[in-house]
């Protein structure tokens, strides 16, 4: 589904990523783990077109999408959530999800300001779809709340609802469990599995090892910008290099 090859990213003197390659298999949940500063978020920023890598390529379904802008990748079915929640704070929860539907509509300035009949129909369809994704993530009752005033856990769910509204082929989640309590984390695990069951490929950056080992089909370990290991959760747990990297850090 997604293939990164030889990704290197330098920020001035800092090498955030060095020759990182791996694949994210279609229909699976792939975990990307590593100590703080390993380069996980940087990797997501490159894959989603926010950063341009120093070198290396990204392929989405066999298509070379290196250096594609995020908005173009969105229409090709790639979407993400953010480590530091990036909601549209002054818009309602419902409106946030409706932005996720942006690529599914075509009404422009003229049709919107004149409220042409087909634009009104499109809006109605958007609202219905948005409610569908609010139900999917279990936050329907918050539809009319301002997104900026949501508690942290609900904000994370809204980010997922908004991303799912694009009906992506692949969703990249950056630490979706950070800041959640154990009950919320459990619900998140079920939600991520439900997303995978709906046919969406998942790439998951996460520090919560229990969650990662529990739901991931494959794991990639990054350390200091390099790929340290790759394998099934069991293989990773038994890998001495991984263990020492984590112990060394702790």
């Amino acid at each position: 589904m997604l293939e990164v090859q030889g990704i290197t990213q330098r920020f001035g003197g800092v090498t955030a990523l060095e020759d990182v390659s791996f694949r994210v298999a279609a229909g699976a949940i792939t975990g990307i783990i590593g100590p703080n500063g390993a380069g996980k978020t940087t990797l997501f920023n490159i894959v989603t077109g926010i950063y341009t890598p120093t070198s290396g390529t990204v392929h989405l379904q066999g298509k070379n999408v290196s250096r594609f802008a995020p908005e173009r990748l969105a229409s090709l079915g790639m979407v993400r959530t953010f480590q530091n929640i990036e909601l549209f704070g002054r818009m309602t929860v419902l409106e946030n999800v409706m932005v996720g539907l942006h690529t599914k509509g075509k009404s422009g300035i003229l049709a919107s300001s004149l409220r042409l009949p087909w634009q009104v129909a499109e809006e109605r369809r958007f609202r219905e779809r948005a409610y569908h994704w609010l139900e999917f993530t279990g936050i329907t009752d918050l539809a009319d709340h301002e997104a900026g005033s949501l508690p942290f856990g609900k904000g994370r769910l809204l980010e997922i609802a908004r991303a799912m509204a694009l009906e992506p082929k692949v969703i990249l989640m950056d630490e979706p469990a950070a800041g959640l309590n154990s009950r919320e984390t459990l619900e998140l695990a079920r939600l991520i599995q439900k997303i995978r069951e709906s046919g969406v490929t998942v790439a998951l950056v996460e520090h919560d090892m229990e969650l990662v080992m529990d739901i991931c089909d494959a794991i990639v370990v990054l350390n200091l910008g390099r790929k340290l290991a790759q394998g099934t959760p069991r293989e990773i747990q038994e890998n001495p290099e991984v263990i020492s990297a984590y112990l060394g850090e702790g």
Binding site: I50, F82, H102, Y131, D144, R162
Partner: protein, 328 residues
């Protein structure tokens, strides 16, 4: 879903009440001096709504909007007075031309952010202002351009404050209605998304760069129409109306009224149009007064009048109504 539909109904009721207020306001003025002032409140509301789409919704500053207003005014004046063209046709052609110009300069300018964008739009405003002064054969230079005909429709010439009030407010009300529709649509959500998180908007597939340019051009088109209306109402224009001070005044209107509120733009425009009439003594210090107003508002009413006044009223009602509760 029901909630969203009732929201639309609520918006419609508000708009109808506002329209009634505007339509009957002249009765209260009895054709006096205030009627004339409210003709300008209408033009300023049009301008403030235009700038608010860009500044309040998309979150992109422009310190050069007086230029689009001035281009509309001068081009309409020149086409009708010098070349005898039909004023309505001229207004439309000029608006299209100014929109195209904004579209073209929008691409490089709107790549900039924050202070850099402010500087670039400021620079554009200054260049246009200098052109108004220097292109003497076309514009009459610093002494101004006179002899612009009044607009007329079906034999009725808009030559009194009373007629101009309804002409200008008719246009302004239509613009307000269309703008309300726009900000509550796919495009409006895109604009507000850019304001709150540009990176998230892009990841959601919003073509941020193009949408910014589009709204910049739309804002310029509305400003240009306001300029044409201004020229035909005044029948005389001079460069001082379109300088840096007026660009700042427009930004002040939008911020004081309330960023991201269409009705707020009316409040801001009304206040800043009425204020100089009240504070005649400050005539030469208008920009100082705007500055102080901005500081005051940012400190005490960061949401603008449109949000600040209801909050203030609420607080006063709470104080007097349920003292014990308010103490708790």
């Amino acid at each position: 879903m029901t909630k969203s539909r009732s929201f639309l109904k609520h918006e419609m009721v508000k708009f109808i009440l506002f329209t009634i207020l505007i339509l009957f306001l002249p009765l209260a003025f009895k054709g006096g001096y205030l009627l004339n002032v409210f003709v300008f409140v209408g033009i300023h509301t049009l301008l403030a709504v235009a700038l608010n789409l860009l500044l309040g919704y998309a979150g992109q500053i422009s310190l050069g909007h007086a230029a689009f207003f001035g281009l509309g005014a001068y081009a309409s004046g020149i086409l009708t007075a010098t070349h005898g063209q039909n004023p309505w046709l001229a207004m439309a052609v000029v608006a299209a031309a100014v929109g195209t110009l904004a579209f073209i300069i929008g691409f490089p300018i709107l790549k900039l952010k924050g202070h850099y964008l402010a500087m670039a739009t400021l620079g554009f405003g200054i260049i246009v202002y200098i052109a108004f002064n220097e292109a003497v054969e076309l514009t009459g230079g610093p002494s101004g351009f006179s002899g612009i005909p009044n607009l007329s429709l079906g034999g009725v010439s808009f030559d009194t404050d009373f007629k101009n009030y309804y002409l200008i407010w008719g246009m302004t009300l239509v613009t307000i209605l269309l703008s309300l529709n726009l900000v509550n649509s796919r495009i409006g959500r895109g604009l507000r998304a850019i304001h709150d998180s540009e990176v998230a908007a892009r990841v959601m597939g919003v073509n941020v760069r193009f949408l910014k340019v589009q709204i910049f051009a739309l804002s310029a088109v509305i400003s240009s129409i306001a300029g044409s209306l201004y020229a035909h109402t005044m029948t005389f224009v001079s460069p001082t109306s379109f300088g840096f001070n007026f660009s700042v005044e427009l930004v002040t209107m939008v911020i004081i009224g309330g960023l991201g509120s269409i009705y707020g733009s009316f409040l801001g425009a009304a206040l800043l149009t009425l204020l100089p009439e009240i504070l005649r003594a400050f005539q030469d210090y208008d920009i100082v007064v705007y500055g102080l107003l901005l500081i005051f508002m940012t400190m005490f009413m960061p949401g603008g009048l449109v949000r600040g006044i209801p909050a203030l009223v609420g607080r006063i009602v709470m104080r007097s109504g349920a003292g014990s509760k308010a103490d708790a």
